[in-house]
Amino acid sequence: MPERRTIQTDYLARVEGEGAMTVRLADGRVESVELRIFEPPRFFEALLRGRSFGEAPDITARICGICPVAYQTSAVNALEAVCGVEVPEPIRLLRRLLYCGEWIESHALHVYMLHAPDFLGYTGAVELARDAPRTVERGLALKKTGNEVMTLVGGREIHPINVKVGGFYRAPSRRELRTLVQPLERAREAALETVRWTADFEFPERTVEGALVALSHPDDYAIERGRVRSDAGLDISAAEYDEHFEEEHVERSNALHSRFRNGGIYLCGPLARYTLNRDRLSPLALEAARDAGLGESCRNPFRSIVVRSVELVYACDEALRLIDAYEEPDRPAVPVEPVAGTGYGVSEAPRGLLYHRYRIDAEGSILDAKIVPPTSQNQLAIEADLHDVVARNAGLDDERLRDLCEQTIRNYDPCISCATHFLALEVERR
């Protein structure tokens, strides 16, 4: 009788069929790794049907408490595209500034509160805070600065309400934005310290398989615009996304796994962005990356904490540059008349590529919507990594193996918060 073990991690024990990890081992050999970590936003896709296209940014912002700006941005990109509108440059740059706030907030949360404790031998941020309060306070201060940017530009720190199709309801004045300069300068210093801090952690050797996929733009480190590119030569517009990527429905769960139509696995997020767009980082961020020992590309998921830290420097630096160059737009938004058709929008959420597609009629009613969040796109890559981690460490007892699996998942900063976040861990032996 072979020994069979099932190791299960239920993130969302109260929500059936959602948010769990199951590893099946037989005689020390991995039979299967199944991750149900994220519920695709189907409820929101259904909620959007029949609503006016102007409501999409507000509704989709509520999908995630951590990356509402990403959802708003991909939504307005798609809807402005179908209506044939390109927003004036000052409005685009204001959106980029808002997005920088979200990157700062989200990266600070993940680096300090969730990821760093893994490298330092703590079970979580609370334990870390007892031993190193000033370090954790630095992370909280960074996060707060991100919130301040989001509040001022976006209208409210969580679920900004100021973004609309065509621009903003209200554009901040130069004077208002100047109030962010000092906090952002301090945040940039804290971000540089963050890079130095995380660069000294010890990183196990690991290499992510598959293609790295991110937005890319010739003029800047892509956030709110760009083409979808990969390190394997893919270079497509948002409108071609569905021709190259597909979501396959996984039996026994609600999960949809994204993969290339030719079957290949890919990864999006900080590692992909850094590898594809490193040369478009600001000089300061690039120097920080060099000093941290990051090469021209990075495929080690453990080192994603360093890449996030470098992106923190970049987001602060870029926010300061945008504020310095800010010119109040003549009007906060341009009018957008609905045009029947299908629109496609992408942007770089802190966790990676976020794809939206909307079909609207001539009155502006949404006929259908499709939203593919980064965590769904990364699911197969995370599973492949878990499979390998479990295979190499099958001899560990259940608890240590589960810790290792959790760390492995954390390397990818999955957006559990997009769902509810209950956690119940269970280990079964069979």
């Binding site: 109260r14 929500v15 408490g65 969730l114 306070e137 959790e406 999955p414 559990i416 976040h421």
Partner: protein, 149 residues
């Protein structure tokens, strides 16, 4: 002296919206000296809301396996909230984590009361289930009592 009431939750996750519903109800009932904050989903923001407060009252949905609509009250200034009551995960920060982090950093207000409302469903969808909706009035009244006390 300042007092803050914080409702935590997600209105698109069934009973997870209860904290927000209580905050909305209190918004029009509390005295002017009390600020009411809605915290949608990302509870590490509690630390910002605690800043400068001498009293903080937090309301969140609970998932401890009890009867839906049950209301729990904890005095977090005295003790930690038992594990497994509020949402938490190793990939996200929960109310309990935020309170313990504030305590570790010496940033916990002197008086912190936490209400948990046992949820029936947290599946995607709008609206509270009947037992949880019925609890909103009870907690609102209890919080108003706390504010007087």
């Amino acid at each position: 002296m300042s007092t803050v009431v914080i409702g935590v939750g997600n209105a698109y996750r069934g009973d997870d919206g209860v904290g927000l519903a209580v905050a909305a109800a209190l918004q029009v009932l509390v005295p002017a000296r009390v600020s009411v904050v809605a915290c949608e989903q990302e509870p590490s923001r509690l630390l910002d809301a605690f800043q400068g407060a001498t009293t903080a009252i937090v309301v969140d949905a609970a998932a401890s396996g009890g009867v839906p609509g049950s209301v729990y009250r904890f005095d977090a200034s005295r003790d930690s909230i038992p594990a497994g009551v509020f949402r938490s995960s190793t990939h996200a920060f929960g109310v309990g984590d935020a309170i313990e982090l504030a305590r570790a950093l010496g940033k916990l207000p002197p008086r912190v009361l936490v209400y948990g409302v046992e949820g029936g469903t947290f599946a995607a969808g709008e609206g509270l289930t009947t037992p949880v909706r019925d609890a909103v009035g009870r907690i609102t009244a209890a919080v108003l009592d706390d504010l007087e006390g």
